[in-house]
């Protein structure tokens, strides 16, 4: 039963302020994902929960008890590192057993718990191997096993899937989700991959430049982004973000393009629309017309791309549609699924 509270956390390395006045409460057994580009402060924040970094300002608390002065060893957390951090001179079994050995667990009991953890991640036959003899996926599972061999109060994972190839990643993702649900432990997960965030999290904290831009459940982040950064970061393909100037009932885009769509207010705005919320239609009905830049056959659909000024706009179409390059097409928006952002600040304008 562990609730994690981060209050007014600030972290600077010398003159560089990495985390800026961060406030967050993580509920017991919640799976929270810190999502963001490199350098946004997500890993640093998690390391402060682990005790591997100390906040310059602010407080880290577990169940209301202040943790700032408690060293890592005393925090009873478990962590899976990006490069796994396996002890090269110890076998798989010894690696997994190490946390138990440190706590003085008897050898017999140790072996039992190690076997159980290894079974959980399907590493049974590998217990005697050395880390250098294992593949990337196997090493990752050793790291996982080591972190679950005892029941920590908090689970921390630092981009554990980023060193795996695509296919393995999908498999490992499912395993982690299953494991987390099984163990019922508060989990913090750091990643730059929004697919991982969307599939694993109870809540996502989207970070940029040391600040949480939006905190919420995956559907909310997806359907109701708080600013243009979050909107453009989540979703695959990324949301189309088109700089426009709104005047009356028309939008002026780059290159003289006119879009027949009313905006909530006049001025310099960014129009956001997802590829799957747009469609191709007749030239006269369309909100705007453009020449096809490219189109891609993606198997389950065809993606048509047009260039407006310097912006590529993608539109999802049926998988058997075929187009010619430079063919003129009409594009329609779904008026219910438009997102408007202030161009200067990126803030969401809610009509």
């Amino acid at each position: 039963m562990t609730v994690i509270s981060l209050s007014h956390i600030d972290k600077s390395f010398g003159p560089v302020r990495i985390v800026k006045d961060l406030n967050l409460d993580i509920a017991d057994q919640e799976f929270l994902v810190f999502l963001g580009p490199s350098g946004c402060g997500k890993t640093t924040t998690m390391r402060m929960v682990a005790g591997l970094e100390h906040p310059t300002l602010g407080e880290v608390a577990f169940d209301g008890k202040r943790m700032n002065e408690v060293p890592t060893q005393g925090r009873d957390v478990a962590m899976v590192f990006q490069n796994y951090g396996l002890y090269p001179h110890m076998s798989v079994a010894q690696n997994i057993a190490y946390p138990l050995k440190l706590r003085g667990v008897a050898p017999g009991e140790r072996d039992r718990l190690v076997a159980k953890a290894a079974e959980r991640v399907e590493l049974g036959p590998f217990l005697k191997r050395m880390p250098r003899e294992l593949s990337g996926g196997q090493r990752q599972r050793v790291a996982l096993a080591r972190s679950i061999v005892r029941t920590p109060r908090v689970f921390l994972m630092d981009e554990p899937l980023s060193n795996l190839d695509a296919k393995l990643r999908v498999l490992a993702r499912a395993q982690i989700k299953h494991l987390a649900e099984d163990l019922k432990v508060t989990t913090i997960y750091v990643t730059h991959d929004q697919v991982e965030a969307m599939t694993l999290a109870h809540r996502v904290a989207v970070m940029k430049d040391g600040v949480i831009r939006q905190l919420g459940a995956p559907e909310d982040i997806y359907n109701d982004p708080a600013d243009s950064f979050v909107a453009g970061f989540i979703g695959s393909p990324a949301m189309n973000l088109l700089p426009v100037e709104a005047r009356g009932s028309m939008l002026q885009a780059a290159g003289g393009m006119q879009i027949r769509l009313p905006a909530p207010r006049d001025g310099e705005l960014t129009l956001g629309a997802r590829a799957e919320d747009m469609r191709l239609g007749n030239l006269d009905e369309a909100h705007f017309q453009a020449d096809v830049f490219t189109f891609e056959l993606l198997g389950d659909c065809t993606m048509a791309t047009v260039m407006i000024g310097h912006t590529l706009v993608a539109i999802k179409a049926q998988k058997d549609l075929r187009l010619r390059s430079a063919e003129r097409i009409g594009v329609c928006f779904d008026p219910q699924r438009l997102y408007w952002f202030d161009r200067a600040t990126g803030a969401r304008i809610r009509a």
């Binding site: 060893q73 478990a78 190490y98 790291a143 080591r146």
Partner: protein, 289 residues
């Protein structure tokens, strides 16, 4: 070692006459090089097994009846190389046993922590290897004289420690730098206090480097001459000093010196050949960027 521009590996390649000459000259040059290194060593080795008569005449340079007498003589009175072997082992062994933990701890501190004056202190430790023996030998002599420690093995160990520490710290630091921080952080998260992290995780991982530093330090101490000369008198005499004992007023006893030379060098050759790869690697690591 990468071969640069080696055309010899290409099948069906016919070298031009000019190129074949160059290759032939190269081969010759390499043989000369090998000869230059091996001949002095071989000559000493041969001399160790010659009778005095064979030593002092060139005609019996290569054809002679070998004898083990020299090897036995050096252990008898008045040379007593046996006691000097013991002293050398004790001093070198003692130095290494003391230096490695000290150097490893210091290297770990330099590698993993950031603190004020770190660069400066590190430079001072490293730079102490550049202090000429000449300028410290006098204070050492007087210091040990004051403490009544002249002619003791302990004094020699202390002196050699100061010689060896800068090298050891530098070498071991390089190896500890190469241990990924993640492994240590893993251990800390698992619950290990810093001391266990160092002892159970970092040291085993950096062990090849520590062994290399140990071998290097052993070599330096084993061969150390000037301080042994000044500080040793009767009891704390090491092998190199034993060697010059064969220079008497009647002349130099080369066959015995050679025997002593074989004794002092053979172990070093063996050890260095055994740890060759890493020895060389880390010796050059600091010099090559």
């Amino acid at each position: 070692m990468t071969a640069s521009l080696s055309t010899a590996a290409m099948p069906g390649y016919q070298a031009s006459a000019g190129e074949r000459t160059v290759n032939w000259v190269r081969q010759l040059a390499v043989m000369v090089l090998i000869g230059a290194i091996l001949l002095p060593i071989a000559w000493i080795f041969l001399t160790a097994f010659k009778t005095p008569r064979d030593v002092y005449s060139i005609s019996s340079a290569l054809w002679f009846t070998p004898t083990f007498e020299n090897m036995l003589t050096v252990f008898r009175e008045p040379w007593n190389l046996g006691s000097k072997v013991v002293n050398s082992l004790a001093v070198a062994g003692g130095t290494v046993l003391l230096a490695m933990p000290m150097a490893t701890m210091a290297a770990y501190a330099f590698s993993r922590f950031d603190f004020r004056f770190k660069q400066t202190i590190f430079l001072i430790v490293i730079a102490s290897q550049f202090i000429p023996a000449a300028v410290v030998v006098l204070p050492y002599f007087l210091m040990f004289k004051e403490a009544g420690m002249l002619d003791t093995r302990t004094a020699l160990v202390l002196v050699n420690l100061s010689i060896v520490l800068p090298y050891a710290v530098w070498m071991i630091k390089g190896f500890i730098d190469a241990v990924p921080m993640e492994i240590e952080e893993s251990a800390m998260v698992d619950g290990a206090p810093r001391s266990r992290v160092i002892w159970e995780i970092v040291v085993p991982t950096a062990l090849p480097g520590i062994i290399t530093a140990a071998v290097f330090s052993f070599t330096l101490t084993w061969n150390e001459f000037l301080f042994a000369l000044i500080i040793g008198k009767q009891h704390a005499l090491t092998l190199p000093i034993g060697l010059i004992g064969f220079r008497t007023e009647r002349g130099d006893l080369w066959e015995l010196m050679a025997a002593g030379g074989v004794l002092i060098t053979a172990p070093m050759f063996l050890i260095s050949l055994l740890v060759q790869k890493q020895f060389v690697g880390s010796l050059t690591a600091g010099s090559v960027r």
